[in-house]
Subunit: 448 residues, 2 copies
Amino acid sequence: MMTSLSSLSIDHTHDPALRSWVSGANDETTEFPLQNLPLGMARPAGQSGAFRPFAAIGAEAVDLIAAAALGVFSDELAAVLRACEGQGLNPLMAAGPALRRQCRHALVAVLDEKADAEWPGKLSAALVSQSSLEFTLPCRIGDYTDFYAGIHHATAVGKLFRPDNPLLPNYKWVPIGYHGRASSIGVSGQQFHRPLGQSKAPDAEVPSFGPSKRLDYELEVGALVGLGNAQGTPVALAQAEDHLFGLVLLNDWSARDVQAWEYQPLGPFLAKSFATTVSPWVVTMEALAPFRRPFSRAADDVQPLPYLQGDTNAAQGAISIQLEVHLQTAAMRAAQQPPHRLMRSDFADCYWTFAQMLTHHASNGCNLQPGDLFGSGTQSGPASDQGGSLLELTQGGKQPLTLPHGEQRTFLQDGDSVALVGFCEAPGRRRIGFGPCVGTVLPAIGAA
Amino acid sequence: MMTSLSSLSIDHTHDPALRSWVSGANDETTEFPLQNLPLGMARPAGQSGAFRPFAAIGAEAVDLIAAAALGVFSDELAAVLRACEGQGLNPLMAAGPALRRQCRHALVAVLDEKADAEWPGKLSAALVSQSSLEFTLPCRIGDYTDFYAGIHHATAVGKLFRPDNPLLPNYKWVPIGYHGRASSIGVSGQQFHRPLGQSKAPDAEVPSFGPSKRLDYELEVGALVGLGNAQGTPVALAQAEDHLFGLVLLNDWSARDVQAWEYQPLGPFLAKSFATTVSPWVVTMEALAPFRRPFSRAADDVQPLPYLQGDTNAAQGAISIQLEVHLQTAAMRAAQQPPHRLMRSDFADCYWTFAQMLTHHASNGCNLQPGDLFGSGTQSGPASDQGGSLLELTQGGKQPLTLPHGEQRTFLQDGDSVALVGFCEAPGRRRIGFGPCVGTVLPAIGAA
């Protein structure tokens, strides 16, 4: 049993002075300096070959199987990376945190500007521009679980229904979550038709079926499971970090009118299952190490039950990620206006850590598998202009947002693109980013 | 686009006079006469080879890949069956109903006692005793959706909480469902540890964490999806049957105390995700054709919205399956007492058909995939002694059941085995059965 939480340790790969010989990797604005090295699955755009594992560096990406052939990795790691071809990162996930850390260290060793002089020439065959690549999901997602750990979202949404008592009695005890739909998860660039569904207007006698009129996004952070656990074998909180592979951005598109009518008593179903968008690059737990923060509950707040408490978790349980939602309407796109930022929040405000969510999830013996996806729940900030969904920003659709060029929105209209943005900053640390997570609403299914 | 609902048509393979040369296949008591031919994945017990597709006949099973090598199937079907090896029935599911029907007809042609005299000898190499086999799940289940279409269950459970208004307002309009956990689904014979979880006693100030004290089963029918649909492309009700592959029995084990505390507002989560048991043999839609029944709503009942209504569905939408739950406690097993039947119900009482559930599921554009599993929801009958769970049979744990040998149960105890039974009978038709669906409760996780 591993006892060290490798994901929390900071080493030379986090040194802000570290620079790469890859062009663009040292730009102040890049999301992918040498300190990041997120992993994803891609292939040359427009080709039909199998997707292969890549790591992002600056505006380029390293083909990891090509790099393995050049001797960058150990034989063991090379074999695991080759097993990812056409399959997703699942074999690397299943191999555990030590091999993932080995991958990071090996890449830093050859991409460092102080690396042996042979490497830039040798690796040129394995380096391609990210813009020349087509991405797919980073892994096969067996099961997708969406949590509800954004307390400011839960409070804001609860207030719309129960102004005096917004949080349900279980909220501060249970990392609330539900099973989501895995098949309709797509990677950034996903376009989907406005869903049809049943809804019932408050003043209507009976429900009707048609295009959703209250289509929304939800700003979430996704966590991908690395090591799994056997059925019937829980994961203690002290070991939970060893089962986390890395994080992505996640847009949990939601049809609010469908949700309101269908969700009692078994929870959201078709209101969410039409599409979910994630970013293609997985920012590993190692890359996030410098941005960990103490996790604690105010002394007068509810304290977690013992199975969800632990010293290590308290010391570095939270992760500070600046999260933003940007909206670009069809009119803005036509006028070449850039997406407009609607809000910003910090993932450090999340009420439960992913380690707690994982331990809770496995506490009944449920087997988690490499590649399983957790959503964090909507990450709103404490202020009313920090809502992570339009439901919050427009007070349930009652107060339209006015965009800078004059358009208004209560909920999403056809042609709207929503981009999630995530990045980590800390004093004396190199800024890292999550890359794109964009999705676009097409006209309703069957619409002319 | 296919327009004929092959699953509804009765042909010579349903002739009750049809007899097989396979020993045991014509016994009155067999669940697997020639008219059934359910499909599953198995391998010789105790060996480590890949699981292969089999069809059950009497007490034997036909190794379909071996049969293919003997020339039983077309080249196309043989290739699809070979693709199932180590993968599950998914390739056959994805191939659509025509090839599945072809498989049935080809098997009947060679197993019929009127088949060419060469077949019994030739096929002996492909026939093995079911008792010599080890089974696995019939397919890779990408997503598992559990519906709530048993209206007598929904009413009985609703009454425990809301005596005057047991069904929520959406129940008769929406085929209510939620996403379930796919990873913990196991095949008959599954043993699982009593789950740990959070619960809060009504009189307790705060919740506690420990072994569930209200562990229950739920009697359900499972449907496996054959043909999938592309994301953004709904399935009209008239085509829905073409996307159904076949049915299994399904036990949706439930920890009632965990469920009561966790389920608001997002539905059941850890109360269900520790284990779900299905039967290994998939009874195909073709085998079920003689047991179809008109589906209709009483004239004074709520009528489905147009997308869930259709002539074909109304004509033969329901399926009559006799369903039973049998309980064997550890004491009964030690005393070699057989399992005791707790109840019986008829799947024809289900409030929504699987075709309606499928059309509803895909109505928002959600992509269903070959091998996806639907649960029907608990299939209780209208009478109070027809509850499909202990929650119902014991009035929420208030009225213990007394078993014939004197033991009592409110909820399940360690060592209890629950066997679901399903069979179809109709005048002038050969009776067919679903085979075993048994699961056993082990002591709680971590218990000595």
